[in-house]
């Protein structure tokens, strides 16, 4: 059975979509530059830090050897900047000199295709290269942590994947493609995680210099400052790294991220990746005898209550910004989500440390303190943010249900056959759809289940895009209606409209 491609914009409108996706790539490069600039600031602060010298020999404790993966990252990042700068020059030359010189700059190109197209391909390749050169070095530290703890990672993988599946199913109506959530998970584990680890390591290496160089008149104040500074710095850098992942995916695949539900879910997926990497980091840090406590803390109690809750808020802000007409409102909304995430992370770290100081008084038994105390303290510290996520999700799902109801009724009334009146109730009831999926799975196996899910998701996608098209702030990322309808009809196996199918046309063009 031939299935048309998902986005499938018709040929006449392909150019605006391509321009939009390129503009998205420029936005992604801008975000990568922001992360790079943040790193450079941390490096300058570390370089400017006073030498941790004092009359005491204790300061030597601060001068632990530089971790090898950190050193490798530190070396690779400037190399990446150099590569990115070279690619920028190629890009500028391509733009200035036009298609003919672009072919020389990029080397021999494949036969066939217009010169203008080749020039566009060169520009696109340069942009992707710049992105890779800027971001790839951040993956060194997470990869080294994970490679060093493969058996433990295998323990963490099932909970993380199960949580990802649950997060995916939280999208009760139209769902984003699974590969998009997997990409979010990958960003959180490798890029976001790597950025966080590198920045935290810079902080760890620069703070002792500042800390030991000050006057010693009020040492307790210094300790308090450190206690405050460390969680605050970590909250900022980790949440910025994770939110950047949501923003990157939003800019590249905006057609799929259409509101607070998809933004929130994507944020949760990125955070699950980060949590996976962080668990590996802590397993690497503590004695192997104590790994089970870390797994309990991070893969059971904290799986949905910490990173997931914080980055879900940041993601919801980014998702909500899509339909806001004014740039100021968009920045305010996404910035507000990020601020909530940073605040939640900082508050959790500080409050948990504070509460933990009293845990021994509240729970005389160690086992009780572990099984009840830590979950209770986590609820106290992060409960507000988790509740906020649930409320936002609930509101987003309600809005989706309302918008879909109108769109499905309209589509059924059109008589085109993609959605019938009888199907509306089923499509609008997640519970009935789930039960139907189970029954179809039992009767027809996985193939039948996949076909059913594809059909219902295609119907919901058609209705969702119709709903968005009627919005006040409708943008150019909303796909054309007819290919979506044709896809539904094809999945149903009903005769298609007289319009020629889109896929053979595109194949013929390529």
């Amino acid at each position: 059975m031939t299935v048309p491609s998902e986005a499938g914009p018709p040929v006449p409108t392909a150019e605006p979509h391509r321009n939009a996706s390129w503009a998205g790539l420029v936005g992604v490069i801008t975000l990568a530059l922001v992360l790079t600039a943040t790193y450079i600031v941390a490096q300058v602060i570390a370089w400017a830090a006073p030498e941790p010298v004092s009359r005491s020999a204790f300061v030597k404790h601060f001068l632990l050897p530089e971790p090898v993966p950190f050193r490798v990252t530190r070396i690779l990042l400037p190399i990446g900047w150099g590569v990115a700068a070279l690619l920028c020059l190629v890009l500028l030359r391509t733009r200035r000199n036009g298609p003919r010189e672009a072919q020389h700059a990029a080397g021999p190109l494949k036969a066939g295709g217009a010169p203008g197209m080749r020039s566009e391909q060169t520009v696109q390749a340069c942009r992707l290269g710049i992105l890779g050169a800027l971001l790839a070095p951040f993956t060194i530290m997470p990869l080294s942590v994970m490679v060093g703890n493969v058996p433990q990672m295998l323990f963490c993988l099932p909970p993380t994947l199960a949580a990802l599946l649950l997060v995916h199913r939280v999208q009760l109506y139209r769902r984003m493609p699974g590969w998009l959530l997997a990409s979010g998970l990958g960003w959180g584990a490798l890029i976001g995680g790597g950025f966080g680890l590198v920045m935290i390591t810079w902080m760890q290496r620069s703070v002792p210099g500042y800390f030991t160089s000050g006057s010693w008149e009020r040492p307790l104040d210094g300790v308090r400052e450190l206690y405050t500074l460390f969680p605050l710095h970590t909250a900022v850098v980790t949440e910025v790294g994770k939110a950047a992942g949501v923003a990157v995916l939003f800019l590249l695949f905006r057609r799929h991220i259409d509101g607070i539900v998809s933004g929130l879910v994507l944020g949760a997926a990125v955070a699950l990746g980060y949590n996976f990497m962080e668990t590996a980091y802590y397993l690497n840090l503590v004695n192997p005898d104590h790994h089970f406590t870390q797994l309990w803390d991070r893969q059971v109690v904290g799986l949905f209550t910490t990173h997931v809750a914080f980055t879900a808020l940041a993601g919801a802000g980014i998702g909500a910004a899509r339909w806001l007409p004014s740039r100021r409102d968009r920045l305010l909304t996404s910035g507000g989500g990020l601020l909530a995430a940073v605040g939640g992370h900082f508050e959790t770290d500080v409050v948990l440390m504070r509460l933990d100081g009293h845990r021994a008084d509240w729970f005389a038994d160690e086992a009780l303190g572990l099984l009840v105390g830590i979950p209770a303290m986590t609820v106290v510290a992060t409960g507000v943010f988790v509740a906020l996520c649930v409320l936002i999700l609930r509101r987003g799902l309600k809005a989706q249900a309302a918008g879909l109801t109108d769109a499905l009724i309209t589509e059924a009334a059109s008589g085109r056959g993609a959605v019938t009146e009888l199907e509306i109730g089923l499509l609008l009831s997640p519970r009935r759809r789930l039960l139907l999926e189970l029954r179809v799975w039992r009767r027809d196996g996985t193939a039948g289940l996949r076909h059913l899910v594809r059909l219902q998701q295609a119907q919901l996608d058609l209705a969702t895009q119709q709903w968005h098209r009627r919005r006040a702030g409708a943008d150019s990322f909303i796909p054309e209606e007819e290919p979506l309808r044709e896809r539904v009809l094809e999945l149903k196996g009903t005769p298609s409209s007289p319009r020629p199918p889109a896929l053979p046309e595109r194949k013929a063009l390529s």
Binding site: H61, L64, Q204, F211, L226, T446, K492
Partner: protein, 105 residues
């Protein structure tokens, strides 16, 4: 002023090392609440590791068991509305070709 220079230096160094760069003693367990700032928590005490491992396993096992039990219950109970939905979807597909398995395609 709070004590001699040496005392203050020891206090600061110990606190900072434990918070920032410290590694746990192999003899003591990390039974503190988790931190999310990349450092080791200060509060260190005996920790029942077997309890932590068992609790993690039990929570996930219960989660899987509940999901499995719900699926089994949902599949076994007779519900006329679900049967109606199945009939509806069969009608939808009966307008075209029958569903083919992945191997047949």
């Amino acid at each position: 002023m709070t004590g001699s220079f040496a005392v203050r230096m020891i206090t600061l160094t110990t606190a900072t090392t434990a918070l920032v760069l410290g590694t746990p003693s192999p003899a003591s367990a990390q039974c503190a609440a988790p931190t999310y700032h990349g450092g080791i928590p200060l509060w260190i005490g005996e920790c029942p590791e077997t309890v932590a491992g068992g609790a993690s396993a039990v929570v996930w096992a219960v989660g899987i068991a509940v999901a499995g039990a719900w699926i089994a219950y949902a599949l076994s109970r007779p519900d006329p509305r679900e049967a109606g939905d199945l009939e509806l979807i069969d009608q939808v597909f009966s307008h075209g070709q029958p569903i083919k398995s992945e191997d047949d395609r």
